[in-house]
Amino acid sequence: MSSNTVGSGIASLGALIFFYYSTWIFIIPFIDSSHWLHAYFLDKIWAVRIPQILLVLGLGMISSLLLIATVCSKKQKTS
């Protein structure tokens, strides 16, 4: 698992996510619901809910880590 293959894997994952999400937001709402493309995508409301959930989870994790770090350093200072 050389770093070259891992790097190209990460880059292609990023490109895949970008194109999939862009199609989801910019193309799916405008084509007929009988088109074959709709089979590959969830309902378009999920295109908004998934980033919202990721944001809430991500910011929650970051802020809890910061809280833990500050509380621990304060405990070390006082004790």
Partner: protein, 98 residues
């Protein structure tokens, strides 16, 4: 991003000006009230920006990783130099952990 030319400004000022500009453009289109399909797309554009930024970061990291070159000979010579330095210093009296 925009307007590196012209006025000299700090990075923070440029960032806030860009953000205000893009937000006002988005706000204008948000209140324009075109059909129902456009309403969803315009209201989802901020999330699209977030995802695009994440993807841009992923692609940058991936490309950087993939073009990283392994310097085997330099790594071996560096190891040898570290060993020599350790031997020399421990001979002079410096204690090392390994």
């Amino acid at each position: 991003m925009l307007k590196l030319l012209g006025i000299k400004s700090s990075r923070g000022t440029r960032l806030t000006v860009n953000l205000i500009l893009l937000s006002s453009i988005w706000w204008y289109f948000f209140n324009l009230e075109l059909g129902k399909a456009y309403e969803f797309t315009i209201s989802a554009v901020p999330y699209w920006f977030l995802i695009t930024f994440g993807c841009y970061a992923l692609i940058k990291i991936g490309l950087g990783l993939s073009t990283l070159r392994d310097c085997v000979e330099e790594s071996a010579s560096l190891d040898k130099e570290i060993k020599e330095a350790k031997a020399f210093l421990s001979q002079k009296g410096l204690k090392t952990t390994n």
